[in-house]
Protein backbone atom coordinates (compact mmCIF):
# COMPACT_ATOMS: atom_id res chain seq x y z
CA UNK A 1 0.00 0.00 0.00
CA UNK A 2 2.47 2.61 1.20
CA UNK A 3 4.41 2.73 -2.05
CA UNK A 4 6.07 6.10 -1.32
CA UNK A 5 7.67 4.70 1.82
CA UNK A 6 9.13 1.66 0.04
CA UNK A 7 10.45 3.93 -2.74
CA UNK A 8 12.36 5.92 -0.19
CA UNK A 9 13.67 2.70 1.25
CA UNK A 10 15.07 1.46 -2.09
CA UNK A 11 16.71 4.84 -2.79
CA UNK A 12 18.95 4.60 0.22
CA UNK A 13 22.21 2.77 0.09
CA UNK A 14 21.45 1.02 3.37
CA UNK A 15 19.28 -2.09 3.42
CA UNK A 16 15.69 -0.86 3.81
CA UNK A 17 14.45 -0.86 7.41
CA UNK A 18 11.86 -3.58 7.72
CA UNK A 19 9.10 -1.26 8.92
CA UNK A 20 7.06 -1.68 5.79
CA UNK A 21 4.71 -4.65 5.79
CA UNK A 22 2.01 -5.81 3.48
CA UNK A 23 -1.32 -4.64 4.92
CA UNK A 24 -4.92 -5.37 4.03
CA UNK A 25 -6.86 -2.41 2.66
CA UNK A 26 -8.22 -0.12 5.34
CA UNK A 27 -11.84 -1.23 4.84
CA UNK A 28 -10.93 -4.93 4.87
CA UNK A 29 -13.35 -5.70 7.70
CA UNK A 30 -16.16 -3.91 5.89
CA UNK A 31 -15.42 -5.63 2.58
CA UNK A 32 -15.35 -9.11 4.11
CA UNK A 33 -18.37 -8.22 6.23
CA UNK A 34 -20.46 -7.28 3.22
CA UNK A 35 -19.25 -10.36 1.39
CA UNK A 36 -20.13 -12.59 4.34
CA UNK A 37 -23.56 -10.99 4.60
CA UNK A 38 -24.20 -11.49 0.88
CA UNK A 39 -23.11 -15.12 1.10
CA UNK A 40 -25.29 -15.70 4.13
CA UNK A 41 -28.36 -14.21 2.42
CA UNK A 42 -27.72 -16.06 -0.82
CA UNK A 43 -26.90 -19.43 0.66
CA UNK A 44 -29.55 -19.06 3.36
CA UNK A 45 -33.05 -17.65 2.77
CA UNK A 46 -32.68 -17.16 -1.00
CA UNK A 47 -31.35 -20.51 -2.18
CA UNK A 48 -32.02 -23.04 0.56
CA UNK A 49 -35.00 -21.34 2.13
CA UNK A 50 -33.44 -21.23 5.55
CA UNK A 51 -34.87 -18.85 8.12
CA UNK A 52 -33.89 -15.17 7.97
CA UNK A 53 -32.84 -15.53 11.59
CA UNK A 54 -29.89 -17.60 10.42
CA UNK A 55 -28.41 -14.70 8.45
CA UNK A 56 -26.62 -12.82 11.25
CA UNK A 57 -25.19 -16.02 12.68
CA UNK A 58 -23.95 -17.40 9.35
CA UNK A 59 -22.60 -14.00 8.29
CA UNK A 60 -20.84 -13.55 11.63
CA UNK A 61 -19.31 -17.00 11.39
CA UNK A 62 -18.13 -16.38 7.81
CA UNK A 63 -16.59 -13.06 8.79
CA UNK A 64 -14.69 -14.48 11.71
CA UNK A 65 -13.28 -17.26 9.50
CA UNK A 66 -12.63 -15.38 6.24
CA UNK A 67 -11.07 -12.16 7.53
CA UNK A 68 -8.31 -13.83 9.60
CA UNK A 69 -7.62 -16.25 6.75
CA UNK A 70 -7.19 -13.41 4.27
CA UNK A 71 -5.08 -11.57 6.79
CA UNK A 72 -2.95 -14.66 7.33
CA UNK A 73 -2.24 -14.82 3.59
CA UNK A 74 -1.29 -11.15 3.26
CA UNK A 75 -0.23 -9.82 6.64
CA UNK A 76 1.08 -12.83 8.51
CA UNK A 77 0.27 -14.64 11.70
CA UNK A 78 0.36 -11.82 14.25
CA UNK A 79 -1.99 -9.55 12.32
CA UNK A 80 -4.36 -12.47 11.66
CA UNK A 81 -4.58 -13.30 15.36
CA UNK A 82 -5.11 -9.63 16.10
CA UNK A 83 -8.03 -9.46 13.68
CA UNK A 84 -9.54 -12.68 15.01
CA UNK A 85 -9.41 -11.50 18.63
CA UNK A 86 -10.73 -8.04 17.73
CA UNK A 87 -13.71 -9.67 16.04
CA UNK A 88 -14.37 -12.02 18.95
CA UNK A 89 -14.26 -9.16 21.45
CA UNK A 90 -16.63 -7.12 19.32
CA UNK A 91 -19.01 -10.09 19.12
CA UNK A 92 -18.94 -10.44 22.89
CA UNK A 93 -19.84 -6.79 23.38
CA UNK A 94 -22.66 -7.04 20.85
CA UNK A 95 -23.95 -10.17 22.52
CA UNK A 96 -23.98 -8.39 25.86
CA UNK A 97 -25.82 -5.40 24.43
CA UNK A 98 -28.46 -7.23 22.43
CA UNK A 99 -30.60 -8.39 25.36
CA UNK A 100 -30.34 -4.96 26.97
CA UNK A 101 -31.55 -3.10 23.92
CA UNK A 102 -34.13 -5.78 23.27
CA UNK A 103 -35.64 -5.54 26.75
CA UNK A 104 -35.72 -1.74 26.60
CA UNK A 105 -37.28 -1.64 23.17
CA UNK A 106 -39.83 -4.30 24.05
CA UNK A 107 -40.84 -2.51 27.24
CA UNK A 108 -41.32 0.73 25.35
CA UNK A 109 -43.35 -0.94 22.61
CA UNK A 110 -45.58 -2.83 25.07
CA UNK A 111 -45.83 -0.10 27.67
CA UNK A 112 -46.32 3.03 25.61
CA UNK A 113 -49.98 2.34 24.62
CA UNK A 114 -50.95 2.10 28.29
CA UNK A 115 -49.59 5.48 29.20
CA UNK A 116 -52.04 8.34 29.15
CA UNK A 117 -53.10 11.17 31.44
CA UNK A 118 -55.37 9.04 33.62
CA UNK A 119 -52.67 6.40 33.94
CA UNK A 120 -50.31 8.96 35.42
CA UNK A 121 -52.79 10.85 37.60
CA UNK A 122 -55.28 8.31 38.97
CA UNK A 123 -55.07 5.30 41.27
CA UNK A 124 -56.84 1.95 41.01
CA UNK A 125 -59.86 2.76 43.18
CA UNK A 126 -63.06 1.42 41.68
CA UNK A 127 -65.58 4.23 41.10
CA UNK A 128 -69.29 4.23 40.41
CA UNK A 129 -70.24 5.91 37.17
CA UNK A 130 -72.89 8.47 38.19
CA UNK A 131 -74.82 8.04 34.93
CA UNK A 132 -74.79 4.34 34.19
CA UNK A 133 -74.25 3.15 37.78
CA UNK A 134 -71.62 0.79 36.47
CA UNK A 135 -68.51 0.06 38.48
CA UNK A 136 -65.49 1.63 36.78
CA UNK A 137 -62.10 0.02 37.53
CA UNK A 138 -59.36 2.53 38.39
CA UNK A 139 -57.23 3.59 35.49
CA UNK A 140 -54.00 4.84 36.98
CA UNK A 141 -50.80 3.91 38.77
CA UNK A 142 -50.04 7.20 40.52
CA UNK A 143 -50.40 5.47 43.88
CA UNK A 144 -47.77 2.93 42.87
CA UNK A 145 -45.38 5.58 41.55
CA UNK A 146 -45.71 7.58 44.76
CA UNK A 147 -45.35 4.44 46.86
CA UNK A 148 -42.20 3.32 45.04
CA UNK A 149 -40.66 6.78 45.33
CA UNK A 150 -41.49 7.14 49.03
CA UNK A 151 -40.34 3.67 50.04
CA UNK A 152 -37.13 3.97 48.03
CA UNK A 153 -36.50 7.43 49.46
CA UNK A 154 -36.98 6.01 52.93
CA UNK A 155 -34.53 3.20 52.17
CA UNK A 156 -32.02 5.72 50.83
CA UNK A 157 -32.33 7.91 53.91
CA UNK A 158 -31.64 4.90 56.11
CA UNK A 159 -28.80 3.37 54.11
CA UNK A 160 -26.75 6.36 52.96
CA UNK A 161 -25.70 7.54 56.44
CA UNK A 162 -25.10 4.01 57.71
CA UNK A 163 -23.30 2.95 54.54
CA UNK A 164 -21.14 6.04 54.25
CA UNK A 165 -20.18 6.10 57.90
CA UNK A 166 -19.20 2.44 57.64
CA UNK A 167 -17.13 3.21 54.55
CA UNK A 168 -15.47 6.12 56.36
CA UNK A 169 -14.67 3.86 59.27
CA UNK A 170 -13.16 1.25 56.96
CA UNK A 171 -11.05 3.71 55.00
CA UNK A 172 -10.05 6.32 57.55
CA UNK A 173 -10.15 4.70 60.96
CA UNK A 174 -10.22 0.93 60.67
CA UNK A 175 -7.15 0.63 58.43
CA UNK A 176 -6.22 -3.03 58.65
CA UNK A 177 -7.66 -3.72 62.08
CA UNK A 178 -9.48 -6.94 62.94
CA UNK A 179 -12.72 -5.01 63.35
CA UNK A 180 -12.44 -3.62 59.82
CA UNK A 181 -11.82 -7.07 58.39
CA UNK A 182 -14.84 -8.47 60.19
CA UNK A 183 -17.00 -5.65 58.88
CA UNK A 184 -15.74 -6.19 55.34
CA UNK A 185 -16.64 -9.87 55.50
CA UNK A 186 -20.08 -9.08 56.92
CA UNK A 187 -20.72 -6.52 54.20
CA UNK A 188 -19.72 -9.08 51.57
CA UNK A 189 -22.10 -11.59 53.10
CA UNK A 190 -24.84 -8.97 53.17
CA UNK A 191 -24.33 -8.33 49.45
CA UNK A 192 -25.48 -11.86 48.87
CA UNK A 193 -28.61 -12.06 51.00
CA UNK A 194 -31.65 -12.95 48.90
CA UNK A 195 -34.05 -10.04 48.82
CA UNK A 196 -36.94 -12.13 50.13
CA UNK A 197 -34.92 -12.80 53.26
CA UNK A 198 -34.52 -9.06 53.76
CA UNK A 199 -38.29 -8.73 53.45
CA UNK A 200 -38.95 -11.49 55.95
CA UNK A 201 -36.44 -9.91 58.31
CA UNK A 202 -38.32 -6.62 58.17
CA UNK A 203 -41.57 -8.46 58.86
CA UNK A 204 -40.06 -10.32 61.79
CA UNK A 205 -38.55 -7.12 63.15
CA UNK A 206 -41.79 -5.18 63.06
CA UNK A 207 -43.83 -8.05 64.42
CA UNK A 208 -41.90 -7.43 67.66
CA UNK A 209 -43.60 -4.04 67.88
CA UNK A 210 -46.87 -4.36 66.02
CA UNK A 211 -49.25 -7.24 65.60
CA UNK A 212 -48.76 -10.13 63.21
CA UNK A 213 -49.79 -9.16 59.70
CA UNK A 214 -48.87 -5.50 60.07
CA UNK A 215 -47.72 -4.12 56.76
CA UNK A 216 -46.52 -0.57 56.41
CA UNK A 217 -44.39 1.26 53.84
CA UNK A 218 -41.59 1.86 56.28
CA UNK A 219 -41.10 -1.89 56.69
CA UNK A 220 -40.39 -1.97 52.98
CA UNK A 221 -37.86 0.84 53.39
CA UNK A 222 -36.10 -1.16 56.09
CA UNK A 223 -36.05 -4.28 53.92
CA UNK A 224 -34.69 -2.37 50.91
CA UNK A 225 -32.08 -0.60 53.01
CA UNK A 226 -30.67 -4.00 53.97
CA UNK A 227 -30.08 -4.57 50.29
CA UNK A 228 -28.71 -1.08 49.67
CA UNK A 229 -26.25 -0.76 52.53
CA UNK A 230 -23.62 -3.19 51.19
CA UNK A 231 -23.56 -1.47 47.81
CA UNK A 232 -23.23 1.94 49.42
CA UNK A 233 -20.44 0.72 51.71
CA UNK A 234 -18.53 -0.93 48.91
CA UNK A 235 -18.71 1.92 46.44
CA UNK A 236 -18.12 4.58 49.10
CA UNK A 237 -15.09 2.68 50.33
CA UNK A 238 -13.63 2.36 46.85
CA UNK A 239 -14.21 6.00 46.03
CA UNK A 240 -12.67 7.27 49.25
CA UNK A 241 -9.64 5.03 48.81
CA UNK A 242 -9.12 6.73 45.47
CA UNK A 243 -8.67 10.11 47.17
CA UNK A 244 -4.90 10.61 47.22
CA UNK A 245 -3.19 10.55 50.62
CA UNK A 246 -1.52 13.80 49.50
CA UNK A 247 -4.78 15.66 49.91
CA UNK A 248 -5.36 14.38 53.41
CA UNK A 249 -1.82 15.35 54.36
CA UNK A 250 -2.25 18.78 52.80
CA UNK A 251 -5.26 19.27 54.99
CA UNK A 252 -3.59 17.96 58.16
CA UNK A 253 -0.63 20.22 57.48
CA UNK A 254 -2.98 23.21 57.59
CA UNK A 255 -3.94 22.21 61.11
CA UNK A 256 -7.28 20.74 60.11
CA UNK A 257 -8.46 17.95 62.43
CA UNK A 258 -9.06 14.52 60.99
CA UNK A 259 -12.85 14.57 61.15
CA UNK A 260 -13.02 17.90 59.33
CA UNK A 261 -10.53 16.61 56.77
CA UNK A 262 -12.80 13.66 56.08
CA UNK A 263 -15.90 15.83 55.93
CA UNK A 264 -14.48 18.70 53.90
CA UNK A 265 -11.75 17.14 51.78
CA UNK A 266 -12.17 13.39 51.41
CA UNK A 267 -15.93 13.18 50.98
CA UNK A 268 -16.24 16.18 48.63
CA UNK A 269 -13.38 14.90 46.47
CA UNK A 270 -15.05 11.50 46.24
CA UNK A 271 -18.56 12.95 46.03
CA UNK A 272 -19.22 12.19 42.37
CA UNK A 273 -18.26 8.56 42.81
CA UNK A 274 -20.16 8.20 46.07
CA UNK A 275 -23.28 9.59 44.42
CA UNK A 276 -22.93 7.18 41.53
CA UNK A 277 -22.64 4.33 44.02
CA UNK A 278 -25.76 5.45 45.86
CA UNK A 279 -27.66 5.67 42.58
CA UNK A 280 -26.52 2.18 41.65
CA UNK A 281 -27.82 0.96 44.97
CA UNK A 282 -31.13 2.76 44.41
CA UNK A 283 -31.45 1.29 40.92
CA UNK A 284 -30.78 -2.11 42.40
CA UNK A 285 -33.61 -1.96 44.90
CA UNK A 286 -36.21 0.16 43.13
CA UNK A 287 -37.38 -2.86 41.15
CA UNK A 288 -37.37 -5.28 44.11
CA UNK A 289 -40.66 -7.11 44.36
CA UNK A 290 -40.51 -9.96 46.84
CA UNK A 291 -39.55 -8.01 49.98
CA UNK A 292 -42.19 -5.38 49.27
CA UNK A 293 -44.84 -8.01 48.69
CA UNK A 294 -44.31 -9.44 52.17
CA UNK A 295 -43.49 -6.22 54.01
CA UNK A 296 -45.70 -3.61 52.39
CA UNK A 297 -48.46 -5.56 50.68
CA UNK A 298 -50.62 -4.13 47.97
CA UNK A 299 -53.55 -1.70 47.83
CA UNK A 300 -55.57 0.02 45.14
CA UNK A 301 -55.67 3.51 46.58
CA UNK A 302 -53.14 6.23 47.27
CA UNK A 303 -51.41 6.09 50.64
CA UNK A 304 -48.70 8.67 51.22
CA UNK A 305 -48.07 7.81 54.86
CA UNK A 306 -44.91 5.76 55.06
CA UNK A 307 -45.65 4.86 58.66
CA UNK A 308 -49.19 3.61 58.50
CA UNK A 309 -51.06 1.23 56.28
CA UNK A 310 -50.14 -0.69 53.17
CA UNK A 311 -48.78 1.03 50.12
CA UNK A 312 -48.69 0.16 46.46
CA UNK A 313 -45.42 0.00 44.56
CA UNK A 314 -44.72 -0.38 40.87
CA UNK A 315 -43.11 -3.85 40.99
CA UNK A 316 -45.87 -5.26 43.19
CA UNK A 317 -48.47 -3.59 40.98
CA UNK A 318 -46.92 -5.25 37.93
CA UNK A 319 -47.01 -8.66 39.59
CA UNK A 320 -50.62 -8.34 40.70
CA UNK A 321 -51.83 -7.16 37.28
CA UNK A 322 -49.90 -9.98 35.67
CA UNK A 323 -51.62 -12.46 37.95
CA UNK A 324 -55.06 -10.97 37.30
CA UNK A 325 -55.03 -11.88 33.65
CA UNK A 326 -54.32 -11.09 30.07
CA UNK A 327 -56.55 -8.01 29.70
CA UNK A 328 -54.65 -6.25 32.49
CA UNK A 329 -51.25 -7.08 31.06
CA UNK A 330 -51.13 -3.74 29.31
CA UNK A 331 -51.32 -1.97 32.66
CA UNK A 332 -48.44 -4.10 33.87
CA UNK A 333 -46.32 -3.16 30.87
CA UNK A 334 -47.17 0.50 31.33
CA UNK A 335 -46.05 0.33 34.94
CA UNK A 336 -42.88 -1.50 33.87
CA UNK A 337 -42.08 1.27 31.40
CA UNK A 338 -42.55 3.88 34.11
CA UNK A 339 -40.24 1.94 36.40
CA UNK A 340 -37.57 1.83 33.70
CA UNK A 341 -37.99 5.54 33.05
CA UNK A 342 -37.69 6.26 36.78
CA UNK A 343 -34.41 4.38 36.98
CA UNK A 344 -33.08 6.14 33.91
CA UNK A 345 -34.06 9.58 35.16
CA UNK A 346 -32.47 8.89 38.54
CA UNK A 347 -29.29 7.69 36.85
CA UNK A 348 -29.06 10.66 34.54
CA UNK A 349 -29.66 13.10 37.39
CA UNK A 350 -26.95 11.40 39.41
CA UNK A 351 -24.57 11.62 36.48
CA UNK A 352 -25.23 15.30 35.99
CA UNK A 353 -24.87 16.11 39.67
CA UNK A 354 -21.75 13.96 39.81
CA UNK A 355 -20.26 15.90 36.89
CA UNK A 356 -20.98 19.19 38.60
CA UNK A 357 -19.26 18.12 41.80
CA UNK A 358 -16.42 16.17 40.20
CA UNK A 359 -12.93 17.50 40.99
CA UNK A 360 -12.17 20.17 38.45
CA UNK A 361 -9.00 20.00 36.47
CA UNK A 362 -9.59 23.31 34.74
CA UNK A 363 -7.97 21.99 31.62
Amino acid sequence: MSTDLSDVATDTTFPPPSLVRARLPRQATLIVGVLALALAVLGGPLLTGASWYSVPFVAGLLLVVLLPLWSLQVEGRRAAVDRLVTLLVTYAVTLALVPLVWVLAYTVIQGLPAINWAFLTKDQTTTLDPVTFKQMPGAGVLHAIVGTLLITLGATIISVPIGLLTAIYLVEYGAKSRMARIITVLVDVMTGIPSIVAGLFAVALFTQFGSVGTRIGFMGSVALSLLMIPTVVRSGEEMMRLVPADLREASYALGVPKWRTILKVVVPTAFGGILTGVMLAVSRVIGETAPLLVAVGTVDYMNTNLFSGRMQTLPVFIVSKYKQGADLLELAWGAALILVILVMVLNLTARIIGKIFAPKTGR
Partner: protein
Protein backbone atom coordinates in the same frame (compact mmCIF):
# COMPACT_ATOMS: atom_id res chain seq x y z
CA UNK B 1 6.48 35.29 65.02
CA UNK B 2 9.19 32.94 63.89
CA UNK B 3 10.41 30.32 66.30
CA UNK B 4 13.48 28.21 66.76
CA UNK B 5 13.41 24.42 66.99
CA UNK B 6 15.61 22.31 69.26
CA UNK B 7 15.86 18.64 68.46
CA UNK B 8 17.54 16.25 70.85
CA UNK B 9 18.19 12.51 70.52
CA UNK B 10 15.37 11.98 68.07
CA UNK B 11 14.70 8.43 66.88
CA UNK B 12 11.99 8.01 64.28
CA UNK B 13 10.26 4.71 63.59
CA UNK B 14 7.88 3.23 61.04
CA UNK B 15 6.47 0.41 63.14
CA UNK B 16 9.54 -1.54 64.21
CA UNK B 17 11.71 -0.06 61.48
CA UNK B 18 14.07 2.60 62.81
CA UNK B 19 14.30 5.08 59.93
CA UNK B 20 16.27 7.92 61.53
CA UNK B 21 18.48 7.66 64.57
CA UNK B 22 19.85 10.06 67.16
CA UNK B 23 19.35 13.48 65.61
CA UNK B 24 20.47 16.56 67.55
CA UNK B 25 20.24 20.04 66.06
CA UNK B 26 19.03 23.56 66.57
CA UNK B 27 17.11 25.28 63.79
CA UNK B 28 17.46 29.04 64.21
CA UNK B 29 14.49 31.36 64.00
CA UNK B 30 14.15 33.56 60.90
CA UNK B 31 16.66 31.61 58.93
CA UNK B 32 16.65 29.01 56.22
CA UNK B 33 17.88 25.58 57.18
CA UNK B 34 18.48 23.04 54.42
CA UNK B 35 18.74 19.26 54.66
CA UNK B 36 20.70 17.39 52.05
CA UNK B 37 21.62 13.76 51.66
CA UNK B 38 21.10 10.72 49.46
CA UNK B 39 17.64 9.30 48.83
CA UNK B 40 16.14 7.20 51.58
CA UNK B 41 18.33 8.59 54.37
CA UNK B 42 15.32 9.98 56.19
CA UNK B 43 15.21 13.68 55.32
CA UNK B 44 11.47 13.65 54.66
CA UNK B 45 10.87 11.48 57.67
CA UNK B 46 12.78 13.87 59.91
CA UNK B 47 11.08 16.92 58.43
CA UNK B 48 7.65 15.41 58.98
CA UNK B 49 8.49 14.69 62.60
CA UNK B 50 8.95 18.44 63.15
CA UNK B 51 5.23 19.18 62.85
CA UNK B 52 3.90 15.81 63.94
CA UNK B 53 2.90 14.84 60.41
CA UNK B 54 4.95 11.68 60.85
CA UNK B 55 2.36 10.04 63.08
CA UNK B 56 -0.31 10.36 60.38
CA UNK B 57 1.17 7.15 58.96
CA UNK B 58 -0.21 4.10 60.80
CA UNK B 59 2.36 2.61 63.18
CA UNK B 60 4.74 5.56 62.88
CA UNK B 61 6.21 6.89 66.12
CA UNK B 62 8.98 9.03 67.53
CA UNK B 63 11.32 8.88 70.52
CA UNK B 64 13.22 11.90 71.80
CA UNK B 65 12.49 15.57 72.02
CA UNK B 66 11.51 18.33 69.66
CA UNK B 67 11.25 21.66 71.48
CA UNK B 68 9.75 24.70 69.78
CA UNK B 69 10.11 27.89 71.80
CA UNK B 70 10.40 25.99 75.05
CA UNK B 71 7.45 23.71 74.32
CA UNK B 72 8.03 20.03 73.78
CA UNK B 73 6.03 18.96 70.71
CA UNK B 74 5.77 15.34 71.75
CA UNK B 75 4.51 16.08 75.23
CA UNK B 76 1.37 13.97 75.80
CA UNK B 77 -0.64 17.10 76.51
CA UNK B 78 0.24 18.71 73.19
CA UNK B 79 -2.43 18.64 70.48
CA UNK B 80 -0.89 17.69 67.11
CA UNK B 81 -3.53 19.72 65.29
CA UNK B 82 -2.43 22.86 67.16
CA UNK B 83 1.19 22.07 66.33
CA UNK B 84 0.42 21.88 62.62
CA UNK B 85 -1.33 25.21 62.71
CA UNK B 86 1.94 26.77 63.86
CA UNK B 87 4.26 24.71 61.72
CA UNK B 88 3.08 24.60 58.13
CA UNK B 89 4.26 22.29 55.41
CA UNK B 90 4.76 22.32 51.65
CA UNK B 91 5.06 18.95 49.97
CA UNK B 92 7.22 17.56 47.22
CA UNK B 93 4.35 17.20 44.81
CA UNK B 94 2.04 20.20 44.51
CA UNK B 95 -1.29 19.15 46.04
CA UNK B 96 -3.95 21.83 45.68
CA UNK B 97 -7.44 20.68 46.64
CA UNK B 98 -9.08 19.57 43.39
CA UNK B 99 -12.58 20.54 44.45
CA UNK B 100 -11.60 24.12 45.21
CA UNK B 101 -10.91 27.27 43.22
CA UNK B 102 -7.62 29.15 43.53
CA UNK B 103 -9.30 31.53 45.95
CA UNK B 104 -10.71 28.74 48.11
CA UNK B 105 -7.42 26.88 48.08
CA UNK B 106 -5.67 29.86 49.62
CA UNK B 107 -8.41 30.17 52.22
CA UNK B 108 -8.52 26.42 52.83
CA UNK B 109 -6.79 26.67 56.20
CA UNK B 110 -9.52 29.01 57.44
CA UNK B 111 -12.46 27.47 55.65
CA UNK B 112 -11.66 23.88 56.53
CA UNK B 113 -11.33 24.93 60.14
CA UNK B 114 -14.73 26.64 59.90
CA UNK B 115 -13.26 30.01 60.82
CA UNK B 116 -15.67 32.77 59.95
CA UNK B 117 -13.85 35.27 57.79
CA UNK B 118 -15.47 38.44 56.51
CA UNK B 119 -15.49 38.78 52.73
CA UNK B 120 -13.26 41.86 52.79
CA UNK B 121 -10.81 40.21 55.18
CA UNK B 122 -10.83 37.03 53.10
CA UNK B 123 -10.08 39.02 49.94
CA UNK B 124 -7.24 40.81 51.69
CA UNK B 125 -5.83 37.56 53.06
CA UNK B 126 -5.98 35.89 49.65
CA UNK B 127 -4.21 38.78 48.00
CA UNK B 128 -1.58 39.03 50.72
CA UNK B 129 -0.85 35.31 50.65
CA UNK B 130 -0.73 35.11 46.86
CA UNK B 131 1.53 38.16 46.75
CA UNK B 132 3.65 36.52 49.41
CA UNK B 133 3.94 33.46 47.19
CA UNK B 134 4.76 35.57 44.09
CA UNK B 135 1.66 34.30 42.36
CA UNK B 136 -0.74 37.21 42.58
CA UNK B 137 -0.02 38.85 39.25
CA UNK B 138 -0.38 35.54 37.43
CA UNK B 139 -3.74 34.53 38.88
CA UNK B 140 -5.47 37.69 40.03
CA UNK B 141 -7.89 37.57 37.10
CA UNK B 142 -8.89 33.96 37.55
CA UNK B 143 -9.20 33.44 41.27
CA UNK B 144 -12.44 31.52 40.82
CA UNK B 145 -10.86 28.99 38.44
CA UNK B 146 -9.84 25.55 39.76
CA UNK B 147 -6.43 25.38 41.40
CA UNK B 148 -5.66 22.24 39.43
CA UNK B 149 -5.72 24.27 36.21
CA UNK B 150 -2.42 25.99 37.03
CA UNK B 151 0.99 24.83 35.85
CA UNK B 152 3.09 22.70 38.19
CA UNK B 153 5.18 25.63 39.36
CA UNK B 154 2.12 27.80 39.90
CA UNK B 155 0.42 24.98 41.80
CA UNK B 156 3.42 24.71 44.09
CA UNK B 157 3.35 28.45 44.75
CA UNK B 158 -0.39 28.15 45.37
CA UNK B 159 0.41 25.52 47.98
CA UNK B 160 2.93 27.89 49.55
CA UNK B 161 0.30 30.64 49.55
CA UNK B 162 -2.11 28.21 51.19
CA UNK B 163 0.49 27.35 53.82
CA UNK B 164 1.35 30.97 54.67
CA UNK B 165 -2.32 32.02 54.73
CA UNK B 166 -2.70 30.30 58.10
CA UNK B 167 0.23 32.43 59.31
CA UNK B 168 2.41 29.68 60.73
CA UNK B 169 5.60 30.36 62.66
CA UNK B 170 7.62 27.78 60.81
CA UNK B 171 7.40 26.58 57.23
CA UNK B 172 8.64 23.11 56.34
CA UNK B 173 9.30 22.38 52.68
CA UNK B 174 10.01 18.89 51.37
CA UNK B 175 11.83 19.15 48.04
CA UNK B 176 9.41 21.85 46.91
CA UNK B 177 11.18 22.30 43.58
CA UNK B 178 11.92 18.73 42.58
CA UNK B 179 8.95 18.55 40.22
CA UNK B 180 9.50 22.01 38.75
CA UNK B 181 11.31 23.59 35.83
CA UNK B 182 14.28 25.94 36.42
CA UNK B 183 12.23 29.11 36.08
CA UNK B 184 9.61 28.02 38.60
CA UNK B 185 12.44 26.83 40.82
CA UNK B 186 14.10 30.18 40.78
CA UNK B 187 10.75 31.86 41.50
CA UNK B 188 10.40 29.69 44.58
CA UNK B 189 13.97 30.29 45.68
CA UNK B 190 13.38 34.05 45.47
CA UNK B 191 10.27 33.50 47.50
CA UNK B 192 12.18 31.59 50.17
CA UNK B 193 14.56 34.53 50.46
CA UNK B 194 11.65 36.88 51.05
CA UNK B 195 9.81 34.60 53.45
CA UNK B 196 12.92 34.28 55.60
CA UNK B 197 12.27 37.66 57.21
CA UNK B 198 8.99 36.45 58.69
CA UNK B 199 9.27 32.71 58.99
CA UNK B 200 11.62 30.01 60.11
CA UNK B 201 12.12 27.88 57.04
CA UNK B 202 13.32 24.32 56.84
CA UNK B 203 13.81 22.92 53.37
CA UNK B 204 14.78 19.48 52.10
CA UNK B 205 16.51 19.55 48.76
CA UNK B 206 18.23 17.18 46.41
CA UNK B 207 19.98 20.03 44.77
CA UNK B 208 23.26 21.03 46.41
CA UNK B 209 23.42 24.35 44.57
CA UNK B 210 19.97 25.13 45.85
CA UNK B 211 21.01 24.41 49.41
CA UNK B 212 24.06 26.65 48.92
CA UNK B 213 21.95 29.41 47.37
CA UNK B 214 19.06 29.61 49.79
CA UNK B 215 20.13 28.36 53.19
CA UNK B 216 21.95 29.74 56.21
CA UNK B 217 22.53 26.38 57.85
CA UNK B 218 22.78 22.98 56.27
CA UNK B 219 22.36 19.51 57.69
CA UNK B 220 23.80 16.51 55.91
CA UNK B 221 21.95 13.21 56.46
CA UNK B 222 23.36 9.87 55.45
CA UNK B 223 22.98 6.13 55.90
CA UNK B 224 25.80 4.30 57.62
CA UNK B 225 25.09 1.41 55.30
CA UNK B 226 22.07 0.16 53.41
CA UNK B 227 19.53 -1.20 55.86
CA UNK B 228 20.95 0.91 58.68
CA UNK B 229 18.96 3.89 59.95
CA UNK B 230 19.69 7.34 58.60
CA UNK B 231 21.47 9.84 60.83
CA UNK B 232 22.63 13.44 60.85
CA UNK B 233 26.28 13.46 59.81
CA UNK B 234 27.02 17.14 60.05
CA UNK B 235 25.14 20.32 60.83
CA UNK B 236 26.93 23.61 60.19
CA UNK B 237 26.50 27.04 58.65
CA UNK B 238 26.06 26.60 54.92
CA UNK B 239 29.22 28.61 54.13
CA UNK B 240 31.36 26.34 56.23
CA UNK B 241 29.58 23.25 54.98
CA UNK B 242 30.34 24.02 51.36
CA UNK B 243 33.90 25.27 51.85
CA UNK B 244 35.40 23.41 54.79
CA UNK B 245 33.10 20.69 56.09
CA UNK B 246 34.09 18.96 59.32
CA UNK B 247 33.34 15.51 58.04
CA UNK B 248 34.99 13.62 55.19
CA UNK B 249 31.71 12.01 54.14
CA UNK B 250 30.13 15.44 53.83
CA UNK B 251 32.93 16.64 51.64
CA UNK B 252 32.68 13.53 49.47
CA UNK B 253 28.93 13.99 49.06
CA UNK B 254 29.12 17.69 48.32
CA UNK B 255 31.92 17.35 45.83
CA UNK B 256 29.87 14.67 44.09
CA UNK B 257 32.17 11.77 44.83
CA UNK B 258 29.29 9.65 46.09
CA UNK B 259 25.58 9.64 46.74
Amino acid sequence: MAKSIDVSDLNIYYGDFLAVEGVNMTVKARSVTAFIGPSGCGKSTFLRSLNRMHEVIPGARVEGKVVVDGQSLYDPSVDPVAVRRQIGMVFQRPNPFPTMSIYDNVLAGKRLNAKKVKKSEADALVEKSLRGANLWSEVKDRLDKPGMGLSGGQQQRLCIARAIAVEPEVLLMDEPCSALDPISTSAIEDLIHELKSDYTIVIVTHNMQQAARVSDDTGFFNLKATGEPGHLVEFNPTKKMFTAPDNDATEAYISGRFG
